[in-house]
Symmetry: C2
Subunit: 669 residues, 2 copies
């Protein structure tokens, strides 16, 4: 039995893992889940055990903000935040390791994570990545060492997702060799800017660069905004965004600029520069490509938020599963009350989500490796950057939504206890809520992923030539490609031997899973693409309307793509495992992930006859049975994430419920 709730003394450490000597080795799983930067991750987790970094529930906004501001100094003193910066600034240029440490801050307080992200991951990182030697020499050390708190002033009240359309201007005045920053109307005010309400003394301000009467697109400028005492500098104004539904340790605010002048050299000029006489120059000819290159540095935020949200989901699941293993309600067949996790519905609710968190964890590590290779220059090409941005967009959307859904389900699965602040679910949900819409709104990100899928499909058709492309189209649309993978209804019946057991067997075959999950994406794209192809005489309005008609389907295809990527990462982790019983349990969890993904889309598959009815029936039955088989390992699997009570800090994760149950059982015996 996974937990001895009879004695109630069980702790994470004292418990005997399931399976015994011949069973799965959860230490191996734990090591795998720690990922490619294990030591950095463990060190970060050791740091977040420090109570000085923990969120307190008894503070008003101003006090919470002050506490988090002070916590930044603790992080700085630890040295960890210097990691991604060049050696001259105390770092090692470890881009990936830095994000790993950053993800872990969520267990202390998501506000701390975001405030640190604003200061080092956005403000200082923009100086590093968008600036050149001059800016590194003059501004970077102060930003890293917290001598200058700074904002990342990109978003405006009027423009969030569509950054290219921001309205703040930076007009070059060659006489003074200065840029003049202006926010021409209310919607152009910078908004939701972290650090802007109180702490920021400067900001990296994004504005439309205008020189010699011409607009050169969005560029970033280093702009001092407050004096040392905290008063706005002349021409700068702003207001507090006030309390938020979460993350109240971060002082978000608005900024506006009226003829604010900064030296020409305050333009962060890596991707575009203005000479003293006003001549514009850039190493990137296309304005569009230049814009996306500058914005590319934002990918770091998406990668880290995906991991951070998943960390929140892990914490929530460990709390809820610990409770579910100890809490009893309603007498079972033997008259004794049943443990919640023995209820199949409870298993369905929590264990399918546990499988999702596993998938997201393995995918996150692959994403971190890709990110690291690009940002250290190890493998930095146009293609690898685009691929990274695409993967990050898909994974960020899927992981943040999955985390919110998981935390909410955990909250409900713990009933009244789940609503008490001491058990953390509500605050985690409130804080992580905005992860679904900031650093790229999930819906907008998925639309980008969907558009890239269409582009790639178009390229494939083009390179295949007329005959080849006809084959591809026919294959996707009438199912002959699917048939070759054994997937049309008839072929499935043959492969399954027409029996329920056969269907279940083949549904656990990774090759079959991959074919089914791949088909979900490929067929959707092949269905949408022809409708969006520009035809002679089609007006822009007509094309836009046609795109609109397929927007929902395209976004759903992109979500399927995100799940497919997670499935692949999970499957690679299963394949890496060499210890048979351990491999078996990982494969089991992977299968739960695959089956729930397919079950959710059953209607889609059946309408297109991409799954036979008998195989579709087998999906739900098999998923139920796999979840049942996961159940004995539930606590081992969630504890393999490696969090301690000092990270969970929930009353019901402490064994308290087990002790209460033991006392009650002893008293009523």
């Amino acid at each position: 039995m996974a937990v001895d709730s009879m004695t109630g003394t069980t702790t994470t450490e004292a418990r005997t893992p399931t399976g015994g000597a011949d069973g799965p080795d959860f230490e191996r799983i734990r090591t795998g889940l720690l990922g490619s930067w294990r030591d950095i991750r463990l060190a970060a987790r050791a740091r977040t055990l420090d109570p000085a970094l923990h969120r307190r529930d008894d503070l008003l906004v101003a006090d919470h903000r002050a506490r988090v501001t002070a916590q930044l100094q603790v992080l700085l003193d630890s040295g960890a935040v210097r990691l991604p910066f060049p050696e001259a600034f105390g770092g090692t240029g470890d881009a990936g390791g830095n994000l790993v440490a950053f993800e872990e801050l969520v267990t202390a307080d998501p506000s701390l994570q975001i405030k640190a992200g604003v200061q080092w991951g956005l403000f200082a990182a923009a100086i590093l990545h968008l600036g050149t030697r001059y800016h590194h020499d003059h501004f970077l050390a102060d930003a890293i060492e917290l001598q200058t708190f700074g904002g990342f002033a990109m978003t405006e009240t009027g423009h969030g997702s569509d950054v290219a359309s921001i309205a703040t201007t930076a007009t070059y005045d060659p006489a003074a060799q200065e840029f003049v920053i202006d926010t021409p109307f209310r919607a152009a005010w910078k908004d939701y800017i972290g650090n802007a309400a109180v702490d920021a003394r400067a900001a990296v301000v994004f504005a439309q660069l205008i020189t010699q009467g011409e607009r050169q697109g969005v560029h970033a400028f280093f702009v001092p905004i407050r004096d040392e005492a905290g008063a706005f500098l002349p021409g700068v104004g702003g207001e507090d965004d006030g309390p938020k539904s979460g993350l109240n340790g971060v002082d978000n605010g608005r900024l506006h600029f009226s003829a604010v002048r900064v030296p020409r050299t305050n333009l962060l000029n890596r991707y575009g520069d203005v000479a003293p006489d006003g001549t514009y120059s850039s190493p990137i000819a296309s304005q569009g490509r230049r814009f996306f290159t500058m914005l590319g540095t934002l990918v770091q935020g998406r990668v880290s938020l995906a991991g951070a949200a998943n960390t929140g989901a892990k914490v929530a699941l460990q709390i809820a599963l610990t409770y579910a293993e100890q809490r009893r309600q309603f007498a079972g067949a033997d008259g004794r009350e049943e443990v919640l996790l023995d209820y199949p519905r409870h298993q369905r609710r929590l264990l399918t989500r546990l499988a999702g968190v596993y998938a997201a964890t393995y995918a996150q590590d692959e994403l971190l490796l890709d990110f690291h290779r690009v940002f250290t220059g190890e493998h930095d090409t146009d293609e690898s950057r685009q691929e990274l941005e695409n993967f990050a967009a898909a994974h960020k959307a899927e992981s943040t939504w999955h985390a919110l859904d998981t935390i909410q389900e955990c909250r409900e699965a713990c009933g009244g206890a789940g609503f008490l602040a001491e058990n953390r679910f509500g605050q985690l949900h409130a804080d992580l809520d905005v992860y679904a819409t900031f650093e790229g709104d999930n819906t907008v990100l998925l639309q980008l992923v969907g558009k890239r899928l269409l582009t790639q499909y178009g390229k494939r058709l083009k390179s295949a030539g007329r005959a080849g492309s006809a084959r591809i189209v026919a294959g996707q649309l009438v199912g002959s490609a699917a048939a070759s993978a054994g997937l049309t209804a008839l072929a499935q019946r043959v492969a399954d031997g027409g029996t329920a057991a056969g269907a279940s067997r083949s549904l656990r075959d990774p090759a079959v899973q991959e074919a089914i999950l791949t088909e979900r994406v490929a067929v959707a794209v092949a269905e949408i693409a022809p409708a969006l192809r520009s035809r002679p005489g089609a007006s822009a309005a007509e094309l836009a309307a046609r795109f609109g008609e397929h927007q929902h389907a395209l976004i759903e295809a992109a979500r399927a793509e995100a799940r497919l990527r997670q499935w692949k990462a999970f499957t690679r982790a299963v394949e890496r495992e060499t210890h048979a019983p351990t491999k078996a349990v990982l494969a089991l969890v992977r299968d739960v992930f695959a089956l729930q993904t397919i079950e959710r889309e059953l209607g889609w598959y059946l309408v297109r006859r991409r799954l036979s009815v008998s195989r579709a029936k087998a999906v739900t039955r098999l998923l139920d049975s796999l979840v049942r088989r996961m159940r004995p390992h539930a606590l081992d699997l969630v504890e393999a994430f490696g969090y301690e009570q000092g990270h969970l800090r929930a009353a019901i994760s402490s064994g308290a419920e087990g002790r209460r149950q033991a006392e009650a059982i002893a008293a009523t015996r």
Copy 2:
């Protein structure tokens, strides 16, 4: 156009509804949505405009609690809270009207709603419904008039959903003619009790009644717990539940009792009494039935929470749809930025949920009428009570979940603005979160609904006799009943004329919708029932295991039943409407509700061949097109709920975004 965001001056009042003179009359819709207690509802809404009743975002827990406690006096002064009580106590016995007024408190502060619910809906109502003349004479006036704040001490740390198993005891001592109340161990402490942390001076305590050495089951006792100064009385102790994820205006706490003595007459003895000598008597012979009769008074809480959650969803939708009509992002085909609500995905996200809120609103009114008839004695039979409890359980689960989902979607649909406290989504979600698990955990409630479906099915079989029951079983399982409703695949093709247009036409036919939605419930029940039938020699453990295997399917069937009931209520509202253009728009919204319900279950229908592939394909296509047709009416439809800016109190519901957009457009023209 629904909103003139060009001028930005538009308000709710000034806007011209869509459709013109020949179009739908949204005043008629508004009147219908106000329901059967229109005047009481309007008066309640007028009260909640009072700023003294509004939540403030800048208070710590203690101050929020004190504010809400003071607000109760405002409600009392208005007289409204006396409504459900007998004339002698200033009321009119208007059970339904009382709940209507209560639902509306959500717009002021959900904490106020719950605190009022604890004091009048639980504490005072328990004295009224479970007590008799003596208790009314001695305790009721003080409870109603806030002279005695009280708790409703039913739930224990160890038992929430399974009330029958609570462990607190009340042992009768004939020598002293007193009951002795004890909480024998930690899990028996009363927990999550509103008013218990601070305000309560007394509590209605539920305990296992023991007299003459025998247990008579759960009964309620009036127990003083604190003196006038607020100190616990001897033997009583407790602690504060501390901060919660929401509802922090309510002081929830724990209570424990050690040999606390109350007079024999403090037993609320309507359904069970103890004579001075210790002899137990009850008008209800069966202990089980007695228990359920006493608990039946709890149905009031479920009815009101369902309505209150739906009120929260209305507020959120009106805020989000107002913003979606004014907010622009990304240039459209004409180069001008598009209004968010013109994006089909945005329509999908918000308008399907708007349809859900309409359905819940009409169902809520029917539930209130049922409740009123039972609780005023107008139609109070065993059968009508059971039916009421069943309807309330199904509707409470569906409405509370739907509200949480809607508020979350609205939050995300407003991006960064949605995360600011000034726009209310986060706090509404945090406060209403617990509605899904208190006053009956949604999952447990749906299981009860599912079990009743099984029982009714069993009864039908039994009354049909052997031959008849075989016909029923065969009908459900092989589809002949369905066929007679035109629903098997072949019959559908015939009815649809084999064309896409035909399929769409028939899917808008209410008779077809009803048949499809009914089938989802009936077939599921017919599938589950045989597996659960007790067979000779089957052990309790075997039966429990078999029940477990079908728990998930049973709960899903119960959700389908809840949606079916909402659909029926909506359809009756459509049928009542006599003004053709108004009827048409209501039917449109009803169809969106029906189609999204079917779309969600497409896999279920297809696996069972209960929908033909061509009709299933038509579902998504038709839903997309109906949502598009709803779009021009979106703001009219949401404003028809009748809330004013004083209820919404969101920065982005005020027209601010429209003014910003107008200014930006003027400046960049």
